[in-house]
């Protein structure tokens, strides 16, 4: 199998047709391939997120990650964009969904797209993945330790995040893979158990894996919470899951 790919920053039309930055990594010379929307973690649109996109491309998927913080400080460094987004109170769910819709449309427009779309998100992106699976037309979703899908108190409902994703579960329209760390506090094992209960109640197609030695962010190679063995098995689960649903 060839591992050729090409990658770089592009502009896409996001929510309200806003031009936003995005990172696209595409396989080269491998015929029709599935598309993967990559949703970056709370720290922002960083080096390791781009590496994740390239990893998908090497494995034969076109991966696109929109920079959800771009419009808060266009042209600034990614850390400064993240800080500006935080100052603004965070990314509203509605705006994020608009950006994801734009990114998915871009993936569908690629010449070598096979018609299938997967979504994967890390940390806050995991929550946004769950939301995407419940609101947009996609074929498979991977939630990597998304906190805030299940909320503990009403004060977690804000103008930016007006509905807890768990309350959108009835609308989920694709299979869901969940990858969690048992030492995480958000989502905690109790949150994950609640998600399983609600998904089962609604008869949804899902599979969850919780790694006993991992906390939050175990895929994050540039951060102290990276946990090699959990991440390696997690990647294995992702390849298996997308192999079944995005071929």
């Amino acid at each position: 199998m060839s591992d050729h790919m090409q990658a770089g920053t592009i502009e896409i039309a996001g929510n309200n047709a806003d031009e936003i930055e995005a990172y696209l990594a595409e396989p080269v010379g491998r015929g029709k391939v599935g598309g993967v929307l990559v949703i970056h973690h709370m720290p922002g649109y960083d080096r390791e997120t781009k590496e994740i996109c390239r990893t998908f491309a090497v494995r034969g998927y076109a991966a696109l990650c929109p920079n959800l913080f771009h419009r808060y400080a266009p042209g600034a460094k990614w850390q400064d964009q993240s800080a500006a987004a935080r100052e603004a109170g965070g990314v509203p769910d509605e705006q994020a969904l608009g950006d994801f819709e734009g990114a998915i449309a871009h993936l569908r427009s690629l010449a070598d797209h096979n018609g299938k779309i997967g979504v994967i998100g890390y940390c806050s992106g995991g929550r946004q993945t769950y939301m995407t699976a419940c609101n947009l037309d996609i074929d498979a979703a991977v939630d990597c330790y998304g906190g805030g899908v299940v909320i503990d108190s009403p004060d977690q409902i804000t103008p930016q995040r007006p509905v807890a994703p768990i309350d959108m579960t009835a609308k989920m329209s694709c299979p869901l893979l969940g990858l969690f760390g048992a030492l995480d506090r958000s989502p905690s094992p109790a949150h994950v158990a609640k998600m399983e209960e609600v998904l089962r109640e609604h008869g949804k197609d899902f599979e969850f894996h919780s790694y006993p030695e991992a906390g939050h962010g175990f895929f994050s190679v540039d951060y102290p919470m990276y946990h090699r063995d959990s991440a390696r098995d997690g990647w294995k689960q992702i390849w298996d899951f997308y192999g079944r649903h995005l071929a």
């Binding site: 709370m42 109170g89 806050s124 995991g126 805030g148 506090r185 939050h216």
Partner: protein, 78 residues
């Protein structure tokens, strides 16, 4: 844990970095993933100037942040 914990306050202040003083108009205090300090969650203070690229950011171990808070209050009470 990905938190959405952030407290924002308007302030009249100045901060010094890279050889110059800057006017600070807002602070954002958050408890979240740090970029540099090697802990899973840090108390982060962002001193905002109105220009996203000109800011002063501090990440503290939670224990150090608590001590700093006590020190500030102690100094203010004297």
């Amino acid at each position: 844990m990905c938190t959405y914990i952030a407290e924002t306050d308007d302030v009249k202040a100045t901060a010094y970095a890279h050889g110059e003083w800057m006017d600070v108009h807002r602070t954002v205090v958050s408890m979240d993933h740090p970029y540099k300090v090697p802990v899973e969650h840090a108390l982060c203070i962002d001193f905002r100037t109105g220009d996203p690229s000109r800011r002063v950011a501090v990440e503290l171990h939670p224990d150090d942040a608590r001590r700093l808070a006590y020190s500030i209050l102690s100094a203010l009470q004297r």
